[in-house]
Symmetry: C2
Subunit: 388 residues, 2 copies
């Protein structure tokens, strides 16, 4: 604390430093395999409250309890609903109430054992309970593994705004086990693949090539084949994400983030669809539209654009939805501009593996949007595939 006089007033200055560090590990053996020590090492010496969802509990609850028992861990399990419609402050407070019911102390731990919404709710609850307690993630969906559980952001929807309330809160640890993907419906695998494709398009042409070659097989096999490719694609996507996040992890050093590719039009689309569109589907449509905008702006070559669209088609990712009216797209750009403190910062690819920002809202005219939509249309609009 330094004291000084400025403008004639006495002042005391305080500098706050918060430093946290965590690892995301990609398991080679299943996390619930009794011989895998990862969860036990994390939970040893504290009480844990594991928050899971009905589906995950049905599929993996018994294996989880077997693991907890075999390692004599002081861990409780609670099941909550965690669909996009349950991504609310009330659900997060329900997790807080469970933390209280199980008397978690300040050094005890919440664990999110489920998909992206589950980890959002647990992050926010962990940020609030006792002004912050530790949490860990054991994501069971592909989007959870490569996106929701990797960073610090927890958010809930509030009064018709996506993620209006939330927190930045570093996890203690994240355990990514691709074996969980074997039971994930194909629709959700495609959603996760959209986020991997995002990382490839903004950062890594090699990863894009691997998706081109193996993407359909990975989805068809529930990421079980080819085994090493599945692990590599997931691990590489996570590592790229962490590289992008690290220099500006609290978003206090600027609001131009490449990882916002696919996240400018999509929040409003999700909302306007009444959450009929999955997050990953909306991200896919947003990426397709942003790529088409890039072509209109002369930023992306047609050849690259067509290569991107071919991957969308091969992965059966949507490129359009009826919700994408001009009104919705305009409102989405306004929302993003407000969220980014006055600049739109629309992320557009300029080549495969490289992207840039369209900074000003005014640059994306109605005409540019209409031309981009028409271009997408010429390539054959594709809506959301049937649930499978």
């Amino acid at each position: 604390v330094g004291r000084c006089f400025r403008r004639g007033y006495p002042l005391a200055r305080l500098t706050c430093k918060l430093i946290a560090s965590y690892e995301v590990e990609v398991c080679e053996r299943s996390a619930l395999d009794l011989t895998n020590p990862a969860i036990a090492q994390l939970a040893k010496g504290r009480r844990s409250l594991i928050i899971t969802t009905p589906t995950v509990h049905r599929l993996y609850g018994a294996a989880l309890r077997r693991y907890l028992g075999a390692h004599s861990l002081d861990a409780r399990v609670e099941v909550i609903s965690a669909g996009e419609r349950e991504k609310t402050i009330d659900s997060a407070l329900r997790v807080c109430a469970l933390a209280k019911k199980h008397e978690l102390g300040r050094r005890d731990m919440l664990v999110a054992f489920g998909g992206g919404v589950c980890s959002d709710l647990v992050k926010l609850a962990a940020a609030l309970v006792r002004r912050g307690i530790p949490y860990a993630c054991l994501p069971t969906t592909l989007i959870g593994q490569v996106d929701a559980a990797v960073g610090l952001k927890g958010g809930v929807n509030y009064k018709s705004s996506k993620n209006y309330l939330g927190c930045f809160k570093a996890p203690l640890h994240v355990i990514v086990d691709p074996a969980f993907l074997a039971t994930l419906p194909k629709r959700y695998l495609r959603c996760g693949m959209a986020e991997i494709l995002k990382m490839a398009l903004i950062r890594d042409a090699d990863l894009f090539s691997q998706i081109e070659s193996f993407g359909p097989l990975l989805i068809a096999s529930g990421f079980s084949s080819p085994d090493e490719v599945a692990r590599h694609v997931i691990g590489r996507s996570i590592a790229l994400m962490m590289e992008e996040l690290e220099p500006n992890i609290y978003e206090d050093r600027g609001l131009q983030r490449l990882v916002d590719f696919g996240h400018s039009f999509s929040p409003r689309m999700e909302l306007s669809s009444g959450y009929r569109l999955q997050h990953g589907e909306a991200v896919a449509i947003d990426m397709a539209l942003s790529s088409a905008v890039a072509v209109e702006f002369g930023l992306l070559r047609r050849g690259d654009y067509e290569r991107i669209m071919a991957v969308f088609e091969a992965l059966n990712l949507p490129t359009h939805d009826d919700v994408c009216t001009m009104d919705v797209l305009r409102a989405a750009l306004s929302d993003s501009t407000k969220h980014r403190a006055g600049n739109l910062n629309l992320v557009v690819p300029i080549a495969i593996g490289t992207a840039t920002f369209v900074v000003n809202r005014e640059q994306v005219t109605d005409q540019a949007l209409q031309l981009a939509l028409r271009r997408l249309g010429r390539e054959g609009l594709r809506g959301v595939a049937q649930r499978s």
Copy 2:
């Protein structure tokens, strides 16, 4: 992001650094004086939403609006109830809803213009809205000025636990204007004085002497006389608080905090009294009891104890309340032990200006508590004085 292999798993590690810095300034001219640039400099170039309470609005609303108009600031004012009973997550969410209604962006600002509860609610709302937006404090009560608005902690009561939910969130700036204290009821001045006395007892014998000499006059005059002493006592208390907070501002480096003096028995006392006891009154009783415990343990000389009790009497601070049954005191110590991750860390004075910790819960036996209560009784128990 480093990548490595441990236990045979691929890992990616990420380090998160959050650095914030803020000043607490003690005004020499009233903050609402049109010639004082402090608020204008803070609010310039962004939208502000000023959250205030009915009483503060009645007393200072017109002067505030005059100031905002004179400086052409883009600032809105909203009034909410902020008593201890309103220190709830619902109230914090009401502030979030107001932020949404007034379309605050990520670089816009919430301002707490009221007492301690007002700043708690604003801190928590600012932590949640858009995952964190800036906020500033303009505290109008003494406890707000020397305590609630100075640090990072915002908390709300939840399901019969004080401050069970909350956040750590650094303010942009804090403006302390002692002129507001002229209209503060004496009861609330005494409550603030209890927190100043806390800082004096754990850190500063000189500050204690000043309270001995001028405390009653400061309270009687609403901190207007002697003017320089008032400013010094407030400024010194704030600076000491900031010195104590800075090395462990997020409480992630240990849970032994001298500033917890008076805050081990008191949360449960407040709760058990149904919030009939003000926070500062419960803190006063806790400090008296902790001082008596220190005498029983042979840690504090009787002479120092009596000097402390004499100041309590001169300031008309309570040293006992009917709520202090053995059951309540035991429950309070259990709560504190849980909150401090297994150690009680009861702060007790060992001389005027110096304190230490009673680390283990077991050390504070029923017998020690009973002897301490009896000692307080021999000195003449004093309850909460009539509201004035």
